[in-house]
């Protein structure tokens, strides 16, 4: 009885197995191999050992720029996004009327945000003569040319990411609604203030959800591509100010057909994400409280 069951399980998994080995594991291994070669899709891959990695880590100023830009982007957008998401979720959880309407309105940008249409809109809105500067002029402030000034270009992309806080907000809301009420009642009876209740009960009990959101949003931020591509016109400019790591990888792979080099870049990205996630998972003991 058991034996037949186990075979059937794998039958159902056939599509996934084909996908896993053929489109995920296989290519990942192939790309590891390619990262040690020089390959332009026309000839055959030529083994060059660690040359690609050496160049990335020591001799490529664009890599340094793109790492800097990507880390900055992640470090700014994730906390801001989660901060807004949590704040709005807390407000909405207070039993405000029209909750579903607000929730839907805040979620809409998350759905639309990844599209070319929105990135295009953003580029126009933050242009030197764009909507944002027009609004600022009403207050007598003369804004810079946001998208074409290297000092501010990245902020426009951060703003675009934060604009999509609706998705983690919904998860926070769901998490808040799951909080058991008896703790709050007991605390009220003991004379705890609202603020104390927030910091001592709500926040600690929310840490699993915060952790989840943090990991998901961080990984997503590392993968971002479309906004940087559209807002900078594919260049990552000005002066590499919006050169996300993914955009640089795309340029190397499909602009200059340096496939081996791109593969090396990709593997370094994987290692980074794995390292960051590992650190997050390991340090969660320090601050995440799981309901036991």
């Amino acid at each position: 009885m058991r034996r037949r069951r186990s075979l059937v399980g794998y039958v159902f998994l056939l599509p996934w197995l084909a996908g896993f080995f053929g489109l995920t594991l296989g290519p990942a291994m192939a790309s590891l191999y390619l990262s040690f070669t020089s390959y332009d899709l026309i000839g055959t891959p030529g083994w060059i050992g660690l040359d690609n990695y050496v160049r990335i880590l020591t001799a490529d100023s664009k890599v340094a720029d793109s790492v800097h830009v990507t880390l900055l982007y992640v470090a700014m957008s994730v906390p801001l996004k989660l901060g807004f998401a949590l704040a709005i979720a807390l407000i909405l959880n207070k039993g405000i009327m029209g909750l579903s309407l607000y929730r839907a309105l805040f979620y809409l940008p998350s759905l639309l945000g990844a599209s070319v249409a929105i990135a295009t809109l953003w580029r126009r809105v933050f242009a030197g003569d764009g909507l944002v500067n027009h609004v600022l002029l009403q207050f007598g402030i003369e804004g810079p040319s946001w998208v074409s000034d290297p000092n501010t270009a990245l902020y426009t992309l951060v703003a675009l990411s934060v604009w999509q806080f609706g998705s983690p907000m919904i998860i926070f809301l769901a998490g808040l609604r799951q909080l058991p009420q008896d703790l709050y009642e007991a605390a009220s009876i003991d004379g705890a203030t609202k603020r104390q209740q927030f910091w001592r009960i709500t926040l600690p009990m929310l840490t699993p959800v915060i952790f989840f959101n943090m990991v998901v949003q961080t990984i997503d931020a590392f993968k971002a591509f479309t906004p940087a591509f559209i807002v900078s016109g594919g260049s990552g400019g000005p002066i590499n100010a919006t050169l996300f790591y993914t955009l640089y990888l795309y340029q190397e792979a499909f602009g200059y057909l340096r496939m081996g080099y791109a593969a090396a870049l990709a593997w370094l990205l994987v290692l980074t994400i794995v390292a960051v996630t590992a650190v997050a998972f390991v340090t969660q003991r320090l601050w995440v409280h799981y309901d036991e």
């Binding site: 069951r5 059937v8 159902f12 998994l13 056939l14 599509p15 996934w16 996908g19 896993f20 489109l23 290519p27 990942a28 790309s31 899709l41 407000i91 909405l92 207070k94 039993g95 929730r103 839907a104 309105l105 979620y107 809409l108 940008p109 759905l111 639309l112 990844a114 599209s115 070319v116 249409a117 929105i118 295009t120 809109l121 126009r124 909507l131 609004v135 009403q138 604009w163 998705s167 919904i170 998860i171 926070f172 769901a174 009420q181 959800v209 990984i219 590392f222 993968k223 591509f225 479309t226 559209i230 990888l249 792979a253 791109a262 593969a263 990709a266 593997w267 990205l269 994987v270 996630t277």
Partner: protein, 290 residues
């Protein structure tokens, strides 16, 4: 259940009216700021070009819909072709995803076999792998299969459950279905396939619908995949067509640019309006404790 609701009502009755008003003002302001760009974009699409940059108001002084036909035929191929291409790719992706991910989720949540947990772990692991690492070899693979410049590289992987996110979503849902149904069916002599087809699937319509809608939206919005695999302009999706427009006439004819942008957003908007409940619930369940 009453406990959960009671907190909100306790809060509501205890809260002074000015705090409630304060919250509402804050929320209203926030929604307005967030949605302003979208509304402005629509307003600009029905304004003559000259008016766009002067005004920040959401109500056009002169309504002018000519941007829509202008943008529609702005590139040498009409946007209609792009919409059609996007539709085909999205519908096929939805089909593939729903079939393959539900099969995998069923196996992992309802069937027992050695290595089941390992498989599930691997599925979750693939969520963390950035697509960049498989990008180059996948491209080479499709190049050698002569599939580049067709829809195949975009659609066929969907039939192979590469979107682990949906396996995860469906697994969560299936785990919530009572096991007694399975056990009863087994005693009646049903094969696992029949259980899957006749019992689990019909009960999972909300989850399947959620997966379908999300897949549609993600595929519709996908830019990178079509960017590298679709080279012939006739195969472009709306996202590529829009970007092509941006690079050419879009730099001067902004109302046409925004008109086309609005059109590309409409399907997603429509799905959102009709199915927001499903979508929001879908997102919410991913964050809850496994």
């Amino acid at each position: 259940m009453s406990r959960r609701a009671s907190r909100a009502t306790i809060d509501r009755s205890r809260r002074p009216w000015h705090r409630t008003l304060g919250f509402h003002i804050l929320l209203c302001l926030c929604s307005l700021v967030m949605l302003y760009p979208l509304l402005w974009m629509f307003a600009s699409s029905v304004r003559p070009n000259a008016d766009i940059f002067q005004s920040i108001s959401l109500w056009p002084a002169h309504w002018d819909f000519s941007a829509y036909p202008r943008g529609w035929s702005g590139l040498q191929i009409s946007f209609g072709q792009f919409f059609w291409n996007s539709l085909i790719i999205s519908v096929l992706s939805v089909t593939g995803n729903v079939i393959s991910c539900s099969l995998a989720a069923y196996a992992v949540s309802r069937l027992h076999f050695p290595g089941r947990n390992l498989c599930f772990g691997l599925m979750l692991g693939t969520l963390m792998i950035p697509y960049q690492v498989t990008l180059v070899p996948q491209y080479i693979l499709f190049l050698n299969l002569d599939w580049v410049n067709s829809f195949l590289p975009l659609v066929v992987p969907k039939f192979m459950a590469v979107d682990a996110f949906f396996i995860f979503l469906l697994t969560q849902f299936f785990r919530g279905l009572p096991r007694e149904l399975d056990e009863a069916a087994v005693m009646d002599g049903c094969s696992p396939l029949r259980i899957y087809w006749s019992i689990i699937l019909p009960l999972s319509t909300p989850a399947l619908a959620t997966a379908a809608i999300f897949t549609f939206i993600f595929t519709w919005d996908d830019f990178f995949g079509p960017l590298i695999y679709l080279t012939d302009i006739e195969n472009f999706t709306v996202q590529l067509g829009l970007r092509g427009f941006l690079d050419s006439a879009g730099q001067s004819d902004w109302s046409a640019m925004f008109a086309m942008a609005v059109l590309t957003l409409l399907p997603v908007l429509a799905l959102f309006l009709f199915f927001q409940r499903l979508l929001i619930q879908g997102i919410a369940t991913t964050g809850l404790k496994r």
